[in-house]
């Protein structure tokens, strides 16, 4: 095992009832790497991310984050989750809280920050992502793109060492996708280690340091974006990319 890896996954298995979703995932992610998970709907991308955050208990295998096995029995899941930020497709902001409250809730409760300190940090982050005029707004009154940026800031406020993004642009109107992708690009430029499930192939090509193709619960093929998109080795990968390209043409 690579001791300097930010994230190490070995033989990860997960099924829901009789439905086997992850059938032995092996993946090693170095510091500052940006892994893009691609694959058809139902290939297990979301489930993998939820397992990494311990939102889903795994059936078998190990997950090691910064040298600590987080899948061992008796691990403090709350402490683990504080180091791993996750952003969901449907934003999942807290509708009864303002943007500022959404962002400061976890730092205050989970990290024990004082309100003033947490709010100051939140304002800096919101400002950085162009949301300084939305501090007092409630989620209902933000556009989808703004909501998703707030959700990213909310995860960042915990200062995670790893960010998981689960198809964060899939629920957005096309004209709002760019503003969210820009934010993610900025994070990547800042050296954030990320695992990103995405349908945006152009984005994966631009931002990914490595692209993994998930098929039937396994990582069928992985490699640098250039190689994956220009000369995929596996037939299944070729077929998947073909379908995506032709779908875009129509």
């Amino acid at each position: 095992m690579n001791a300097s890896a930010a994230l190490e996954i070995e033989g990860l298995r997960k099924s829901f009832g009789k439905n086997l979703v992850l059938d032995g995932i092996d993946l090693s992610v170095g510091e500052h790497e940006v892994i893009c998970l691609i694959g058809a709907s139902g290939s297990g991308k979301s489930t993998l991310l939820r397992c990494l955050n311990l939102l889903e208990p795994v059936d078998a295998g190990r997950i090691v984050v910064a040298g600590e096995e987080i899948t061992r029995r008796g691990v403090d899941v709350n402490r683990v989750r504080r180091q791993i930020g996750i952003v969901f497709q449907a934003f999942n902001l807290f509708p009864h809280m303002s943007v500022l409250e959404n962002v400061t809730l976890a730092p205050r409760l989970a990290l024990g920050r004082r309100r003033g300190e947490a709010e100051e940090q939140a304002r800096v982050l919101l400002d950085r992502f162009g949301l300084s005029d939305k501090v007092e707004a409630y989620p209902d009154h933000l556009s989808g793109g703004q909501q998703q940026r707030v959700a990213i800031v909310r995860a960042l406020a915990m200062q995670p060492r790893l960010m998981l993004l689960d198809e964060v642009t899939s629920a957005l109107d096309p004209e709002l996708v760019a503003e969210v992708l820009d934010v993610i690009g900025e994070l990547a430029a800042g050296g954030m280690t990320m695992v990103i499930a995405t349908h945006e192939m152009g984005f994966a090509r631009d931002i990914g340091t490595r692209v993994c193709f998930l098929d039937d619960g396994v990582i069928l093929e992985q490699g640098p974006p250039e190689q994956m998109f220009n000369s995929p080795r596996e037939l299944r990968t070729q077929q998947f990319l073909q379908r995506i390209v032709s779908a875009h043409r129509h």
Binding site: R82, G85, A137
Partner: protein, 294 residues
């Protein structure tokens, strides 16, 4: 002089209402017609009902036994004083029901096999106390508990009446809370837990605030029921409004005191309903206040 003053006060009360209706009348063709039709049909209906009732063979006697002004005036002060006991029972019960029912609802929503005994307990509790008529619970506790003559246990009928109402209404209110908790989408819990919040923090800060907001109207509905059911404590002998009215009617064979008691109950429950509407509207306004969509 006094009559003059009364009449002036009357016109002051009705003036704003009339102007609002007139405003609606003049607001546009379709709206004006709809309001006019509604007003006219209501008016015709009320006149018909009024004529039928006042021309019925027994009207003269009914008016004397139920709508007698001298009896109304005479019985009002004592019944109003007794009604304070209803308000006291209601207020104390409500303060106990809100947290107790919430505890029951939370117990019932605990996941996993570890908490099965607590979940089962909460389910049995809700089933039992929703199944037994309130008046029976009141009678059993109110007559039974003091009869035990255990030292230190209160013998006050009001005390046991309150205990019975809290037990029964907590079962109903816990179901209302539970519906609210279950209406909050699981993704909200996932989001909170993913940030490292504990189960308890998630419940307190994310799930319950959303759940409670959604169930305020049905909660109020239960509390209007509770306010009315305080009259059942009178069956134990506590002199509350209904019991006082019964005493008055038994002495005079005139039922106007019941009308007094009924009006007193309505005087509390209607403002309660308006207050809740106001709370909901305020919450909506607050959320929309910062709604500049840019």
């Amino acid at each position: 002089m006094a009559v003059e003053g009364d009449r002036r006060a009357d016109t002051e009360v009705t003036e704003p209402r009339r102007s609002r209706i007139l405003g609606a009348l003049s607001s546009g063709g379709d709206g004006r017609r709809a309001v006019a039709v509604a007003l006219l049909s209501t008016l015709v209906f009320l006149i018909v009902v009024g004529v039928v009732v006042t021309h019925s063979p027994g009207w003269h006697e009914v008016r004397q036994t139920f709508f007698d002004w001298p009896y109304f005036k005479a019985s009002f002060p004592e019944i109003a004083r007794a009604f304070l006991l209803n308000c006291k029972i209601f207020s104390i019960s409500e303060c106990l029901i809100l947290p107790f029912a919430l505890l029951l609802a939370v117990l019932r929503s605990l996941p996993g096999p570890v908490f099965f005994p607590l979940r089962a307990l909460a389910i049995v509790y809700a089933d039992f106390f929703r199944g037994v008529p309130t008046i029976l619970v009141i009678a059993i506790l109110g007559f039974g508990a003091p009869a035990l003559q255990v030292s230190g246990v209160p013998t006050s009928t009001t005390f046991w009446g309150i205990v019975a109402l809290v037990l029964v209404y907590s079962a109903y209110v816990s179901e209302v809370y539970r519906a609210g908790i279950e209406s909050v989408h699981p993704s909200q819990e996932a989001a909170a837990r993913s940030l490292g919040l504990t189960r308890g923090q998630t419940l307190r800060k994310v799930i319950l605030p959303q759940a409670v907001r959604r169930v305020i109207p049905p909660l109020l509905n239960d509390f209007i029921g509770l306010q009315k059911d305080t009259a059942l404590v009178g069956t134990l002998g506590a002199i509350e409004a209904f019991q006082q009215a019964s005493i008055d009617t038994n002495a005079t064979f005139n039922y106007t005191p019941y009308l007094v008691a009924a009006l007193l109950f309505v005087a509390i429950t209607i403002p309660l309903a308006r207050f809740t509407d106001w709370l909901i509207a305020r919450d909506r306004r607050r959320r929309q206040a910062h709604g500049a969509f840019a």
